[in-house]
């Protein structure tokens, strides 16, 4: 029996997450309104606008997964601010509250430093519409009792499942790290693999690129 099978304490149960978009009826036509509403809307709205792109455009090259940056650049023409918003390092935030704070501060600092931008308004129909995500979490039929099984399943499970265990678990459900790293460390006795996966920045990859990176790490781990 190999090392991976021997060390498993609890099998890893794969879940998946489907989502529905809820509208809030709130919209911003200027940076000042955007900054105010970012402070007021529910956390699930901040989550939606910083993660939607990952799922809807999962086949594209890595792209700032941030609707605020996209709107600021594309509609208001504020490329510098768009770049700053796009480069906010989501990985360093432990929860939505601190991510919201960072986005708000970034916007407010920019408006204070460039007061003329508050005179810019989006054309009717091009306002920023605040939405939020409702997540539905379901168990799949897949469960892994060894590192080999885990790797095999990861190769064929839906992107939604990978998304749930990597993104949703950490930021929305406020776990200390992603589900895969937690299991690899706590149940599988492979902290080095857990750390390596925990250090991946999933926001700068496509979802299929992320799957490949995970599989590369795991296959190397199995071979050791």
């Amino acid at each position: 029996m190999n090392r991976a099978v021997q060390s498993i304490k609890t099998p890893f149960r794969f879940f998946t997450r489907l989502h529905l978009t809820e509208l809030t009826g709130l919209k911003a036509a200027s940076l000042v309104e955007l900054a105010r509403l970012i402070r007021e809307v529910p956390g699930s709205s901040i989550y939606h606008h910083t993660h939607r792109f990952l799922q809807q455009h999962l086949y594209l090259s890595p792209e700032p997964p941030n609707d605020f940056a996209y709107w600021t650049t594309g509609v208001l023409g504020e490329e510098r601010l768009g770049e700053i918003l796009a480069s906010i390092d989501t990985m360093q935030f432990k929860d939505i509250r601190s991510l919201r704070e960072k986005i708000s501060e970034t916007l407010e600092d920019y408006v204070n430093a460039h007061p003329k931008v508050s005179l810019k308004f989006a054309d009717p129909g091009e306002e920023f519409h605040f939405m939020k995500s409702v997540s539905f979490v379901l168990p799949t039929s897949h469960s892994a009792a060894s590192l080999e099984d885990f790797t095999d399943i990861l190769g064929k499970i839906t992107i939604d499942s990978i998304y749930y265990h990597i993104f949703e678990a950490r930021l929305r459900l406020e776990k200390p790290t992603n589900d895969f790293s937690l299991w690899l460390e706590q149940s599988c006795g492979r902290p080095e693999l857990a750390n390596e996966i925990g250090r991946l920045d999933p926001y700068t990859r496509t979802m299929e690129g992320l799957r490949k990176a995970l599989l590369d790490i795991l296959r190397k781990g199995i071979a050791k």
Partner: protein
């Protein structure tokens, strides 16, 4: 209409998507869903229900469909409401509202309400909410209500307070309402006549029938002859492109015999196009297979609308991996991420610039066409629509933001 089975979609969307649908359907097996609209034939709502209901039944979800009754006077009023909700000025009188209420009253008396979930489509049956008991009610708005006439919106929204949820097709259609609102985009059916794969021979035959040679790049807009689709702007766009890139233009759309304004627009278009043998104005009766062929024969697809409800012609073109240039209105920006899955424009000049770019850079055009097809596969096919509706039904019983099923 061919009735497809859920399994028929598996080669297109993958096994996992079908499995997800089955997982969700399992959670709804004890619920009866009752759709209500105003017609069983014609129009987008009837078309989508005709496609969806057999698939729901395939999934084991008890989904049924009823239609309200109404006379000519009622439907004349609801047509006025429809236009007014789109923001078009309409001369509405007190008696129009009375006619609406009288017919609604008859339907309230006659219609059997048996569903656990009532799915009410558009304004015509909205007043049925007065029959609400301990079941859940959804109002599905298929209309662009981003800028409605206040008088009509106030009247319709007066019925919405007792609904449990409203559904809109684009973020801009959302209004401040005292109920939960969801965004669910419409979809295309990849197996329909309009979207299914067809042999190149069929494409050739259709182009030959309409006498359009395939000797140079073809730029096409498919839409009825309506000012909101800006067909004159399309010809102006073509003329700017034609200065530098030789091409043909196809403007293809339905006949406008019952629409006096349509006939006037068509006349303007014919005048504008006169004398140019490379402009092909195709007046077509409803023929989905021919539309499919024309889209596939095109090099670039235009949708230069001034206003759009959702603009599913964009999704149809993208599904065929065609590069699209389209106005940034209605639901179009949901389908096109500028420069990734198509090009958005705001003017004739902008549209012309984008068309030239695509004609002169075929590799770039191919790339955004492929991206566009994948974007439609992930977000705008019928299977996604089924999934969203099932999630919506489940959301009615779960107010929380993270729902564990």
């Amino acid at each position: 209409m061919t009735r497809n089975k859920l399994e028929d979609y598996e080669p297109i969307v993958g096994r996992n998507v079908i499995d997800d649908l089955r997982l969700l359907a399992e959670k709804l097996k004890d619920r009866v869903i009752q759709h209500v609209n105003s017609t069983s034939v014609g129009g987008g709502v009837a078309e989508i229900l005709n496609r969806m209901i057999p698939l729901f039944q395939d999934l084991g979800v008890d989904c049924r469909w009823d239609v309200i009754k109404g006379g000519e006077a009622f439907f004349n009023v609801t047509k006025k409401f429809h236009n007014a909700l789109h923001g078009r000025p309409e001369n509405l009188e007190r008696k129009d509202f009375d006619i609406f209420l009288e017919t609604s009253e008859q339907n309230i008396r006659q219609m059997d309400i048996y569903g656990d979930i009532l799915f009410i489509h558009d304004p015509q049956p909205v007043a049925l909410i007065r029959k609400k008991k301990d079941n859940k009610w959804i109002w599905r708005c298929h209309v662009d209500v981003s800028d409605p006439l206040p008088e009509v919106w106030a009247f319709i929204s007066g019925f919405l307070g007792r609904y449990d949820a409203a559904v809109f097709s684009a973020p801009g259609f959302s209004q401040k309402l005292p109920l939960r609102q969801f965004l669910i985009s419409p979809s295309i059916d990849p197996l329909s006549e309009k979207n299914k794969e067809i042999p190149e021979k069929t494409v050739d035959e259709v182009m030959a029938k309409y006498k359009v040679p395939r000797d140079k790049p073809i730029v096409t807009q498919i839409s009825r002859f309506d000012r909101l689709k800006d067909p004159v702007g399309v010809i102006e766009t073509y003329r700017l492109v034609k200065k530098y890139s030789d091409c043909r233009l196809i403007l293809a759309g339905g006949t406008a015999t019952d629409d006096p304004e349509g006939a006037a627009v068509l006349k303007e278009v014919m005048e504008k196009a006169a004398g140019d043998p490379d402009i092909h104005i195709l007046l077509m009766s409803q023929n989905d297979l021919e539309i499919n062929a024309i889209q596939r024969a095109s090099t670039v697809i235009l949708q230069k609308s001034i206003r759009e409800g959702f603009g599913l012609t964009v999704a149809e073109a993208l599904w065929k991996a065609k590069p699209v240039v389209a106005s940034n209105v209605g639901g179009i920006p949901l389908q096109i991420r500028h420069k990734y899955s198509g090009l958005l424009c705001h003017s004739v000049e902008g549209a012309a610039f984008s068309v030239k770019q695509l004609l002169n850079s075929p590799e770039y055009a191919d790339k955004i066409g492929v991206n566009g097809r994948e974007h439609i596969r992930n977000n705008f096919l019928l299977t996604r629509h089924l999934r969203d509706y099932m999630l919506l039904f489940l959301a009615l019983y779960h107010p929380e933001n993270v729902v564990y099923l």
